[in-house]
Amino acid sequence: MATVGQACLLIALGLCGYGAVASIYGARSGRDAFVLSGRRSLFAVAGLATVAFVILEAAFLRSDFHYTVVATHSSLTTPWYYRLAAMWSSQEGSLLLWLFLLAVWSSVALVLLRGRLRDVAPYATAVQLGLAGFFSGLLVFTAQPFETVPVAPSDGIGLNPLLRHPSMMIHPVMLYSGYTLFSVPFAFVVGALVVRRVDAEWIRATRFFSLAAWLCLGFGIILGARWSYSELGWGGYWAWDPVENASLLPWLTGTAFLHSVMIQEKRGMLKIWNASLVLATGILAILGTFLVRSGILDSIHAFVEEGNTIAWAFTALISVLVVLSVYLVITRRNDVLRSEARLDSMFSREAAFLANNLVLVGVTFVVFWGTFFPLISEAVTGSKAAVGPPWFDRYVVPLVLILVLLSGIGPVIAWRRTTVARLWGTVRGPVIFSAVVAALLLVGTNAAQDTESLILFLAATFAIAVAVHELWRGMRARQLMTGEGPPRALVGLVRRNRRRYGGYIVHIGVSLIFIGVAASSAFQHERDAVLRPGQSARVGGYTYTYLRPTAKIEQRAGELERISLGSKIRVTKGGKQVAMLSPTRGYYPTNAPMLGVLSRYFIGDSTSEVGLKAGWRRDLWIAEQPDISNLMPIVRKGDAVFAKAAAGGVSAQMRAIFLGQALNGLVARYRASAPPAQFRIIVSPLTGWIWFGAMIVLFGGFVAIWPAPGAARGLVRARYTARVARDLSRA
């Protein structure tokens, strides 16, 4: 079956080449047959990619260690759902996932957009096939997923235990879906520019995909942050690591695009800007994929490997895309990309959206500069230098502040122009509300300690108040017009204007996220402490008491999965128990041949299981680094004993029994007399608001993306609208 899989990729590569050529030829010569053939090539590539994907996943599921990727990324003790995810923890598997998602989403796009944009679609298909061909090429020539060995090892190396987390299973799929869905508007804008038809239709047609891409990518980013917080032992959720930034860049430009596109739809303005944003988003998506695996930047994920073929290939692709994009925009700038209207007033929704775009592009630039700074400084000064999180924070935080403020102003300001008096009238309520909240914060909390956070709280409160107020006012207006009761009016209001009100809900969610981020960064209490059983530490008003050590051997599928050493921690406040936490450290055995029989259970990978009690007001977080230094001498003696036993002819069965006893003994010893362990304790306020806000954002996104009420009703209304339109033209 491995050869079948490899053959699928090879056939797919061929079809990509054929399909791209056929689409372009068909479009240029007017021969529809070739255009249709090109479309079918994309569908065929999707089918082949699916077959290859299924074959590889099947190999992972049944732990077929003939496959090199399976042997190096999975093991017998890996649970079946992590085995599925293990496929894309490998270079080859992740490229296959990318190809699969790209082909499937592109095919869905072609099917949904069938009949529309008939002159643009062939070129868009060619672009999609070109991208698919690139990834197929990588899979066929440099990163072959279906490589096999004739003799399968008895067990695999296993999935990196850090990745054994539900978030990490979905995170890559979400990110890649985001990247590949963004390729749809990217492909269509390229096609639109090629045929010189950049007006309203390509935006409307690809709107669904832009929004879906933005949602998937955003969700993927949040999942990564959540994993970092609850799985890694440092207690943070964002480190401005190059790989994190890589996924953020296209999301930022995508957000800008979602806003500025509304200006083009309403006023025919900003065509060059929109086209450039979409092109940039697509390129940044490819760049993001590239950064994680290229090794050009030092980061937690990337390796600096010289002469990396994949890195060169990606660099070539990105260069081609950049040159193509710049060429198209420059050569079309005077005819089809010219604005139909001008900015009437700086006091208008257009201006607010424009400001939003400028700020977002500003943030993108800052993040881009900071991420690539090692390369920039090398080019300028000859030596690599890196900037740290404080630098990013210094520039991004004020920009985010302005952005949140704008998200409160945008909805209340009218299109084209408005007056200060009008604006004040609509904004008065939310401003007063924010002032009240400000007073409460200053009096009741220590929020005044950090000015930047305080201002952010106020801006976010203002934005939320505006969104809620808009929903309220819209509901009242609808009630006046239709006489419905409040709940029906609200639902009806949102249903008839999903994009706008979905957007307002997203604003609420985003503001909540930033409130959480500000509070949990600026007002966090953190302490590193070494505690022995019975000792306590006071952090942020809470007392963490180390009650007793815990030790457990965890098994799965008849094999030892890991040894968990940890502790029971009681958290109290003012004498009352608030939480019982169980931080542990999981020690995974390793198959490295040169290690002793006992040692390999303690010197392999280890991961933190964080003790976390989340709440609306604050999170109680603790991670532990047990001290096994007093166990190691015993372990090493045990190694020697087992080595002698093996040489002296003791049977494997007896040795296994003794091994079990030895491990149980060691574990019991830790439980009885653990040396003091190192703890990191964090009390951070409002962290839960980040994840809650993210869910609100998702909900708002779904509202915005959901198709409007049924086609039948649409037909009736459409006929009515058409009749009215005819009246208009006769008046």
């Binding site: 090199t68 190096t72 990324h73 923890s89 490998s90 270079q91 992740s94 190396i157 999935l159 990196n160 850090l162 890694l232 032992g233 440092w234 207690g235 994680v292 030092d298 980061s299 937690i300 994920h301 990337a302 390796f303 490997e305 001008r342 900015l343 700086m346 500003g362 630039f365 800052v366 500069w369 900071g370 700074f373 090692p374 400084s377 300028v380 000064t381 030596s383 690599k384 230098a385 890196a386 900037v387 740290g388 404080p390 630098w391 210094r394 520039y395 590193d528 390793t590 198959n591 490295a592 040169m594 392999g604 990978d605 280890s606 991961t607 933190s608 001290d627 230094s629 190192q678 990191r680």
Partner: protein
């Protein structure tokens, strides 16, 4: 002032502001950054007090717990030159012998002191070439 001129002024102002901000950004990034170096580079030319971003591999057997922190040695990825590092702060899960690390340090006498919480350990073998694996676990 006719609209076209107003627009031109707006454009010029916007561009100037953007350029000034970009300039400020670029300037501070050069002064706020720490050079990325390898152990051999550090041995050759480290200035006391300046902070560097050291990348390399943890020398096998060199990790020792000292007080509330650790000491270990970092060597060149492909070579033997190594430097001692004293570090307090959070130790990432994958940290162990042979792993690639990034840590911000400054020279202090004969040793290098790591900045608190600046230790980053690279996810091992995530996308590494399997033929380069030397029997080390994933």
């Amino acid at each position: 002032m006719d609209p076209a001129r107003k627009r031109l002024i707006r454009l010029v102002v916007a561009l100037t502001v953007a350029l000034l901000l970009a300039g400020a950004l670029a300037y501070t990034s050069f002064s706020a950054s720490s050079s990325a170096v390898t152990p051999s580079q550090l041995l050759r030319s480290a200035t006391p007090g300046r902070s560097y971003q050291l990348t390399g591999k943890v020398v096998g057997g060199s990790i020792a717990h000292v007080g509330d922190g650790i000491t270990f040695r970092v060597r060149d990825r492909a070579g033997t030159a190594s430097v001692p590092v004293r570090y307090t702060g959070e130790i990432p899960d994958p940290f162990r012998d042979g792993r690639e690390v990034i840590v911000t340090v400054h020279k202090d006498g004969g040793t290098y002191v790591g900045e608190k919480d600046s230790l980053v350990t690279k996810c091992p073998s995530k996308f590494a070439d399997p033929s380069k694996a030397t029997g080390q676990p994933a």
